[in-house]
Amino acid sequence: MAKAISTPALERHGLTDDQLRWMLRNMYLQRTLDNRGFQLNRQGKIPFATGSEGHEGIHAGAALAFERGHDILVPYYRDMGLCVGIGMPVLQVLLSMFARAQDVSGGRQFPNHYSYHSLGILSISSIIAAHCPHAVGAAYAMKLRKENGRAVLCTFGDGSTSEGEWHESVNFAAVHGLPIVFLCENNEWAISTPRANQMAIENVIDKAPGYGLPGVKVDGSDPIATYAVMKEALGRARDGGGPTLVEATCYRFLAHTTDDDDRTYRTREEIERHRHLDPVPRFEALLLEWGILSSDDASAMKKDVLAEVNAATDEAEALPFPKPEELYTNVYEGPYEPWL
């Protein structure tokens, strides 16, 4: 039932020039925001950042396949680009990094743990795979209410597929034929633990037949191929065709977070060996080759992205932290008097 496809981006899968350029811009944006988080951390301005360098192709492709206003996204903490790709403001990324009062979580959550109800982005914790059953519950709600044309996109890393809640979630979704796509962003590493220590099988999608749902593997460094696979899987879910497990491969070029030193568990040579998978220069070269944009256009786009990120950085930094008394709000509905 599982199938692996490797689509070198030889065809456009119906994508317009504007859509292709949009994907490239989204990827530039992700890379720039990632760098910004690490810069701000090293400058001592924010306590923590997490990057997604290497995941940009997955995020751009999946974001384009996501239907805003209909679908629900239940992301994990490495999905900043995906969240921005489906409409979350860049400013929100910076507000989250700086933990400002205007951040949706009011400065409570770690960076990259977004919640954006109006866009259908569910609130998540850092507990690996704990969000997977929530995604399934949301998909069940859609099915119960007969909301055809809607689907849930649930994302996670390869390490998540070891968690019991992941297996329980995929199983339940398959039993009930729910409108959900499970998207594994397989970047080969769960902090310091390589895939081979995580599973005795070659592919994450090898787990799909055991639960009775289709599995599709795609080169996640290729945003067009990812888009094509996600469009099909989400389309099937929206049409009542049930869940799909998608494995999009990529490579995590950065350490797990700003608090991680990946030199303790992998060599610089290994990272360089994967450099050819870097989706940003790869996709840029492809669009240049296809004549979708010129190198001047690409430079201008990068400048524009940098200006947007700089402006958001300045705006967020100038805003205030939450007031201390905000610690006591939203514990329950209504006024709450904690026992001090």
Binding site: S105, H117, I127, P133, V136, G137, A138, L144
Partner: protein, 334 residues
């Protein structure tokens, strides 16, 4: 001429839960029940018997045997606008769902600063005295009552069960609803017909008295009342407070009673160390130390991992009404 419908019906606790769930499913299409064997079997205590025929398998879900996702899927349903009433078949089976309840449900509103909420009820039968051995007898409340964001109720009178279960279903935040399984068919009482709620967080004085305050909940409330009645015959007077809600806790009712009786005995089935009684005791010492005329006493389950299957082991674990009455006498005479 139509007969006037009675204002109340005599029900046991199983029937009180069942009636309340039935009325919720009947009146609000956002509600559903999910859990192990709640469908065709109608729950192992027959609480949801007949529901699947009436409301369909989409709203009466026989889940796979996977407690973490029973809680987790219910959370996702709640976040997306449904009003799930999840069931953990026995409280002893709730441990795999601990993270979902403590790490997720209790923190959904807080971590999203109100962007998402989690109006969820998780019902589960707990408690011993039914020869349930190690994995069908435990009390779990102390494992959860430490957690802000959760509400925990443990009513044991049928009218309280209905009123508090309705309140839990209506509540915009996650509620852990504990049902003492020995009271299921043992306890009967008048239950008002129709929809009503009892506010979560309010205790109830079940037996008035003025020489000793006894705070309890669950099965032991009934035994404590029985013991207090015996004392009445001895011209000794104990006031029995049924906590009903464990979090939030009704500190005011406890303190008011203590300021009258000046003595406190806490009785619960859960083991003593770190139990609910520890919190009540600490609170009373902080708030009413100078009102006390005797040391606080806690009569609780012993600090052992569980009650054994053998009748001798279970009886040794459980607190008899005689022991309760004796402890009350000792405290009043102190």
């Amino acid at each position: 001429m139509a007969l006037a419908s009675p204002a109340s019906t005599v029900l046991n606790n199983v029937e009180a839960v069942r009636t309340t769930l039935y009325e919720a499913l009947k009146s609000d299409e956002r509600t559903l029940v999910l859990g192990e064997d709640v469908g065709a079997r109608g729950n192992v205590f027959l609480i949801t018997k007949g529901f699947i025929e009436e409301f369909g398998p989409e709203r009466v879900i026989d889940t796979p045997l996977a407690e973490a996702s029973i809680a987790g899927i219910a959370i996702g349903m709640a976040m997306e606008g449904l009003r799930p009433i999840a069931e953990i078949q026995f409280a002893d089976f709730i441990y795999p769902a601990f993270n979902q309840i403590v790490g997720e449900a209790a923190k959904t509103r807080y971590r999203s600063n109100g962007d998402y909420t989690c109006p969820l009820v998780i019902r589960t039968p707990y408690g011993g005295g039914v020869r349930g051995a190690l994995s069908h007898s435990v009390s779990i409340e102390a494992l959860f009552y430490h957690v802000p964001g959760l509400k925990i109720v443990a009513p044991s009178f049928p009218a309280d069960v209905k009123g508090l279960l309705n309140a839990a279903i209506d509540d915009p935040d996650p509620v852990l609803f504990l049902e003492h399984k020995k009271t299921y068919r043992l306890v009967r009482g008048e239950v008002p017909n129709g929809h009503y709620t009892i506010p979560i967080g309010r205790a109830d004085v079940k037996h008035p008295g003025d020489q000793l305050t006894v705070v309890s909940y669950g099965l032991y409330v009934h035994q404590a009342i029985e013991a207090a009645k015996r004392l009445d015959g001895e011209s000794l007077s104990a006031e029995v407070i049924d906590l009903r809600s464990i979090r939030p806790m009704d500190r005011q009712t406890i303190l008011e009673s203590i300021r009258k009786t000046r003595k406190l005995l806490i009785i619960h089935e859960d083991n003593k160390f770190g139990g609910i009684g520890a919190e009540i005791s600490a609170m009373v010492v902080e708030e009413a130390f100078f009102d006390l005329d005797a040391p606080i006493r806690r009569l609780c389950g012993p600090d052992v991992p569980a009650m054994g299957y053998a009748a001798t082991l279970e009886e040794e674990f459980m607190i008899s009404t005689d022991r309760m009455a004796e402890a009350m006498r000792e405290m009043i005479r102190f």
